[in-house]
């Protein structure tokens, strides 16, 4: 027959006994502490429930009042506190709020090694949480204390030292203080220790060298062959996490130093590192996830490394892996990030992704994933895959099977869907956020590239709704550049499309004003190509360009001459093309334009440029001068 449960076995009962033990002392303390520890160990729910009931302050009170001679009580207190702090931020907070920290620190100087060990273990748990207090490395005595921890012959004490660094070292100054104090050397020595020492040392090591070329140059690298050699050696360690951490350190060393330096230049070592990371990716836990991000960071911005990764079949492997069911968000993010990097430059990588039976569908589906980071990674991956002009031209992104939400809308066969997508972009181009504005205008500019007249008209009808002129004069030069590129594409193609610029009235004036006002060469290049394209039109259009570029009443140097003197070859090219278009001899007004250009000093400037260092400029200058001279030489 079941009886009623005794209150002593319920949390409330245990708490009662804990409180009275804390007050009365004696043997009862040890017993109740053991019982509590056994209840909460590895059980998050129970930890939270005892924290709520106020168990932590009672334990800390027992610790603070315990005589330093009762070693087993000290050990039980520290172990219980450590257990509360392990893996639960609320536990760390409760432990710190109850004032346990200084008492635990005191335990580190106890004569009994077991007490020291229990104290260090509890403190390590605290420092593994984000809720732990930041350690102040700027205090000399703190550094001394930290070094004394790293010098101890106790795995948990050295582990505590390493955890403090991993948790608290954030700035370049802090990294420098630690490196200068000889901490890196101590950590390297610890690599010879147990697995746990090795792993915590590698983690702290990575923290100290992260994005700090100064520290790396001074303390790590080929000149310090032992350090470098140890790290390389550890990439072959039998424990996956050790191999991963060694790869992370080597990646940080490579990424923080310029490509011209001698760090990790050997193709053999680079390949080896990629292979180690790829093997780790097979682990479907945290190690595998981190290995993916490390691989991605290792190959980022370096095409040679991307080629090596490609040759190691990374793309096939990731395309295969992404097809596994129920992958965690972190894994998907890592796969898309790495694939995105690989496809940023290399067409063969894009080919494999596009030819993989499901890859594109999986990436496309991930655009609506619930986790933001996955959506972003999928989007970047898709963007880089779709850089393939070859596959774009084949319409691979326009078939029903591989339609992507965004691209689908823009390339949809239905005009209304296209317009809806355009409206979204147009809306975004009004955004207060200049990055959003930039990307929207950029997309519109590319969309306008070589579209047929019907599409152009539809797009323009939409564009007219928003003040294109304002985008051309945007406060962000990158937005201006893209907006002018858009206008350039708009007036390219069939000659009638130049009319768009005239129906909008002020547009040509705005472009002309930017040519006189802007300073960024890319903005000037795009603005000048707008003029060039308009100048390839009918007589009145050429005259309109002349009005913008040559003002006879103005005594200042003509804008054409100023821009022809630019150091930027692509800008000089754009200007000379405009002059070529203005001086084509067949036009009725050609002679008058040549005279005006000569009076403005353009022809003599061109004569100075017949040996321009840029071949393209030189050849166009010849054409322009040749055309000007068909009307006779005005040089005398």
């Amino acid at each position: 027959m079941p009886g009623s449960a005794s209150t002593t076995h319920r949390p409330e009962g245990l708490i009662e006994r804990l409180r009275s033990a804390a007050a009365d002392g004696g043997e009862a303390k040890l017993k109740v502490l053991r019982e509590l520890k056994n209840q909460i160990i590895g059980n998050r729910t129970k930890k939270l429930s005892y924290i709520k009931l106020g168990a932590v302050p009672s334990v800390v009170s027992i610790l603070s009042s315990a005589s330093s001679s009762v070693d087993c009580l000290l050990i039980q207190c520290a172990a219980t506190i450590g257990s509360f702090a392990c893996g639960v931020d609320a536990g760390v907070k409760a432990v710190l709020d109850a004032g346990a920290f200084p008492h635990l620190i005191n335990l580190l100087s106890h004569s009994n090694e077991k007490v020291v060990d229990a104290g260090a273990r509890a403190l390590k748990m605290i420092y593994q949480s984000k809720a732990a207090p930041k350690y102040d490395f700027f205090q000399h005595k703190n550094i001394e204390f930290l070094i004394s921890l790293l010098d101890k012959n106790n795995e948990n004490v050295t582990g505590l030292g390493a955890s403090i660094i991993t948790h608290s070292c954030e700035t370049n100054n802090e990294q420098k203080i630690l490196a200068d104090a000889g901490v890196l050397k101590k950590l390297i020595n610890l690599l010879q220790g147990t697995t746990s020492q090795r792993e915590s040392s590698l983690e702290s090591f990575a923290t100290i060298i992260k994005q700090n070329p100064e520290v790396i140059t001074k303390f790590v690298g080929p000149e310090n062959s032992t350090t470098f050699g140890s790290l390389l050696e550890l990439t072959k360690d039998r424990y996956p996490r050790t191999r991963l951490l060694a790869c992370i350190c080597l990646t940080l060393i490579k990424n923080a130093t310029s490509s011209s330096s001698s760090y990790l230049q050997s193709v053999g070592i680079r390949t080896k590192l990629i292979l180690v990371l790829l093997e780790l990716v097979d682990d479907f836990g945290q190690v595998g996830d981190e290995a993916l991000f490390t691989l991605s960071s290792f190959i980022e911005h370096e095409e040679d490394l991307q080629k090596l990764a490609f040759e190691a079949n990374t793309v096939d492997k990731l395309c295969h892996q992404m097809q596994k069911e129920s992958l965690q968000a972190k894994r998907l993010e890592g796969i898309f990030t790495t694939l995105g990097n690989l496809c940023s430059n290399l067409e063969p990588c894009r080919s494999i992704v596009l030819q993989s039976p499901k890859a594109l569908i999986i990436i496309t589906d991930a655009l609506t994933h619930t986790t933001i980071d996955v959506r972003v990674a999928a989007c970047i991956c898709l963007k880089n895959v779709s850089r393939s002009v070859k596959y774009l031209s084949a319409g691979h992104f326009m078939t029903d099977a591989v339609i992507m939400p965004v691209i689908q809308l823009l390339y949809d066969a239905s005009t209304s869907v296209q317009v809806a997508a355009l409206c979204t972009l147009v809306e975004l181009s009004k955004s207060m956020d200049s990055t959003v504005r930039l990307n929207a205008v950029w997309a519109l500019r590319n969309l306008m590239f070589l579209v047929d007249s019907r599409c152009k008209e539809e797009i323009f009808m939409d564009l007219k709704l928003f003040p294109l002129t304002r985008l051309i004069s945007d406060s962000n030069a990158c937005v201006q550049e893209q907006a002018l590129g858009l206008v350039c594409n708009l007036v390219n193609g069939p000659v009638d499309s130049i009319m768009y610029l005239f129906t909008e009235g002020l547009l040509l004036n705005t472009v002309g004003r930017e040519l006189r006002r802007a300073s960024k060469p890319q903005v000037l290049v795009q603005a000048m190509y707008v003029m060039c394209n308009v100048a390839s039109g009918k007589e009145f259009e050429k005259e309109a360009v002349m009005q913008q570029l040559v003002n006879e009443d103005d005594n200042n140097q003509s804008i054409i001459v100023t821009l022809l003197q630019s150091d930027v070859a692509s800008l000089r090219t754009a200007v000379v093309w405009t002059v070529v278009n203005l001086t084509i001899p067949t036009g009725a007004g050609a002679l008058a334009r040549v005279v005006k250009l000569r009076n403005a000093g353009v022809v003599s400037q061109l004569k100075n440029m017949v040996n321009d260092p840029c071949l393209d400029v030189k050849l166009r200058v010849r054409t322009a001068l040749g055309q000007s001279m068909t009307f006779g030489d005005f040089s005398t």
Binding site: V389, K390, G485, K542, L615, D616, L619, S635
Partner: protein, 214 residues
């Protein structure tokens, strides 16, 4: 005062082991969006025949010696509509690609036989015979040599009865944008000549467009 124009020098030999490392300079007439039109002579001993051809540059990556575009053949006898193909080009920049093809059934003898059909190739011949042109610096040369290889049909099926097995040896003039080419396919009539000129689509001048991938 008229000034004397300095003629472009013949391509120089770059010195020592550090050869051929300079990319070609961009040429605005060979940039994305540019269009060309002309003919391809497909005459056989039985019949004189030429197809009208339009070409459009769709992508250009000088760092990797890469160019691509579409080619439209207009009056192809066995096709109801113009036939559009997508091609990819290798730019002979001596860094990414040399004059030797080393694939597509083209031996170095076949290469030289085709390249020598372009008058602008003659100053380069002796060096190309030695090393495929690896030690030449073409960065200031007024002609750009390329190989264009059609990759797929854009608007008709692969079963349309036409072949894209061969490839073109191409010479582009930076001066006026004219393109000459010779089609090579061991199974087709030899030396089918491609002649293209830059088109201005009814404009009185040159017009440019562009896109930029992020």
């Amino acid at each position: 005062m008229p000034v004397r124009m300095v003629e472009s020098p013949a391509p120089s030999n770059s010195s020592g082991a550090n050869y051929g490392q300079t990319c070609l300079q961009p040429c605005s007439l060979l940039s994305v969006g540019q269009a060309f039109s002309g003919t391809q002579n497909v005459s056989s001993p039985q019949k004189d025949e030429a197809w009208r051809v339009n070409v459009r540059i769709q992508g250009c990556d000088l760092d990797h010696g890469y160019l691509c575009g579409t080619m439209e053949a207009l009056n192809v006898p066995m096709a109801d509509t113009p036939v559009v193909t997508f091609w990819e080009g290798e730019i002979v920049d001596t860094k990414n690609h040399t004059f030797f093809t080393n694939k597509w059934k083209a031996t170095s003898e076949v290469d030289i036989e085709h390249w020598t059909k372009f008058p602008s190739f003659s100053p380069l011949l002796s060096q190309v015979e030695v090393d495929g042109g690896k030690s030449l610096d073409l960065s200031n040369y007024q002609y750009i040599f390329m190989r264009w290889k059609e990759q797929y049909f854009v608007n008709v099926g692969a079963d349309c009865g036409l072949t894209i097995a061969g490839f073109y040896y191409v010479c582009f003039s930076c001066v006026d944008g004219s393109i000459n080419g010779y089609y090579y396919d061991p199974n087709s009539s030899p030396f089918q000549k491609l002649e293209l000129k830059t088109t201005n689509e009814g404009r009185s001048g040159f017009s440019f467009s562009s896109y930029e991938l992020q």
